[in-house]
Amino acid sequence: MSTPIRHHILGVLVALHVVAVGLGAFPAPVGGLNRKTWKDPVVARELDAWFDTLSRIGATSDRDTFEDDLFTVAVGMVKVRSKLIAPFRRYYATCGTTQSWRMFVAPMTRPATLLVDGRTEPDGEWTPLYRQHSAEHNWYADQLAYSRVRPILFRLGWPHYRKQYERFAEHLAGQVAEDHPELTGVRFAWERRPTPKPGKPVDPGTYKRERELIYSLSDAP
């Protein structure tokens, strides 16, 4: 008995799905091609470690050449992947079959955490409004700990998201004005806290404040 034509059609379609999924998940350093970010200390340390490993086995000897070669390979991989998945892009976008599985690819050894402070007098002392995991300074803590806000904060912690950070902070400033009408100003900053190496104590002396933004709330709607 011959196989019904619908079985052959099903066979082709499922095979195409399998190919689309397999190619879409093909590892490539998408998003890692901005060489400015390679200067970030966390990324630079990763590159150092790989350079050390590869130079030990004699695969490379010069740091700059290593970075150039790595960039060439990375660009090549992204290009090949991009060509391979091109026929399936519409399928990914329409049917939700995007294969993006870059999860915890590298730990942040110097993570940044958001600080929010407020003051009642224009030149007065700043007092903390929000500190992560603080029971005392917990303004908007439920919202900032929500699972969809965490990835936003993760991205904004990187210096190259400057404009998005400014807009995000401006949005939060409006929220502060609503929740704390007694305040005249709000200040945002990131605190970069190097994670202590195993066995080493936490050293707040190594914490670094960066990218401070101050908003006056007197004109807030």
């Binding site: 294969q99 993570p111 807009r167």
Partner: protein, 319 residues
């Protein structure tokens, strides 16, 4: 040519196989819960404007990433966003109880993609896992059992109505692809076996994802190194799950490895490690529905006969 034809015939025979859809029904129920949780969360936290609306409508984004779905609704506006949330929630509820399975999954999927695509910074791989699962639920007959539809049709909630088995196989393939791909991308010197294996030591302390502050004691460091190594090997080696399932499927064929794997139930050992890994992630980190959805897909790794045997064992223990 004959070999190719034989291969194609075997492929079609795999795709036309039918079985009771218990695993896919369990996955559907969890996917319904996931959609309800993911779409009601921003409402409960009063975060819809921040997450999904443009700056002129109370958000922070200049231009949300509106796709064709929002173009059909006349652009990104509070009305359009809240409409999609409402429709998505209804679809999530019908998916959960098992009414209009394919249609519910399709509507939930389209609402979910439309909303999560608006702000790609406000999500991650958990969104992709949910959308991939929803698409497989569109392809599957997921309400044939474990649903109100099954109750109306057969008088039983969990009848053994046969459905196509291939969507269940695709769920497992998706799981394996996800784990392998993420493992192959963990090329940091902190992850790889020839590195210092300190990845998990640092990740659990990362404030972005931590549910609470963690600072492992120094004596725990070797344990975090061991788990880092195991996790990396487990992820990169995820195709072993496919192999173990293939060996079970073809248990009548000979071979020492096949026999050993089936006797040991390699598949269950592999999934048990995944279960504890996700339990660890879930208890320490806030990464949305990722762990719950991942573990829910494990339901598809088991044959309906195994569910029947398990149920019979439970009943005999109770009685």
């Amino acid at each position: 040519m004959n070999a190719l034809r034989r291969l194609w015939t075997a492929w079609l025979s795999l795709l036309t196989h039918k079985e009771a859809g218990y695993g896919i029904a369990i996955l559907r129920i969890v996917a319904g819960i996931a959609i309800l949780s993911e779409l009601s969360g921003p409402l409960r936290h009063n975060l819809v404007p921040l997450l999904w609306l443009p700056v002129d409508a109370g958000g922070y984004m200049l231009q949300p990433n509106a796709g064709w779905r929002f173009e059909l609704l006349g652009g990104v506006s509070p009305e359009a966003v809240y409409t999609l949330i409402t429709v998505g929630l209804i679809a999530g509820a019908t998916l959960l109880v098992g009414v209009a399975g394919r249609l519910s999954a399709f509507i939930a999927l389209q609402c979910f993609i439309a909303l999560t695509d608006l702000n790609l910074s406000a999500g991650g791989s958990d969104d992709y896992l949910i959308s991939n699962v929803l698409w497989l639920l569109v392809l599957a007959d997921s309400t044939a059992t474990g649903s109100l539809t099954a109750r109306w049709k057969t008088g039983r909630f969990w009848p053994g109505t046969p459905v196509a088995a291939w969507p269940r196989y695709l769920v497992i393939l998706q799981l394996v692809v996800m784990y392998t791909s993420t493992g192959l991308q963990k090329m940091s010197a902190h992850w790889v076996p020839w590195g210092d294996l300190s990845a998990l030591y640092y990740i659990v302390q990362q404030p972005t994802w931590g549910r609470f502050p963690i600072q492992p004691s120094p004596w725990l460091y070797p344990a975090t190194q061991a788990i880092t190594l195991l996790t990396w090997v487990w992820e990169v080696g995820a195709p072993v799950l496919l192999l173990a399932m293939w060996w079970r499927y073809t248990s009548e064929r000979g071979g020492r490895l096949r026999h050993w794997s089936n006797r040991l139930d390699l598949r269950s050992w592999f999934l048990a490690y995944g279960f504890f890994m996700h339990l660890g992630i879930f208890s320490m980190m806030q990464v949305g529905m990722f762990s719950i959805m991942s573990v829910a897909t494990y339901a598809c790794a088991y044959h309906p006969d195994e569910y029947r045997a398990l149920w019979a064992r439970i009943r005999s223990k109770i009685s």
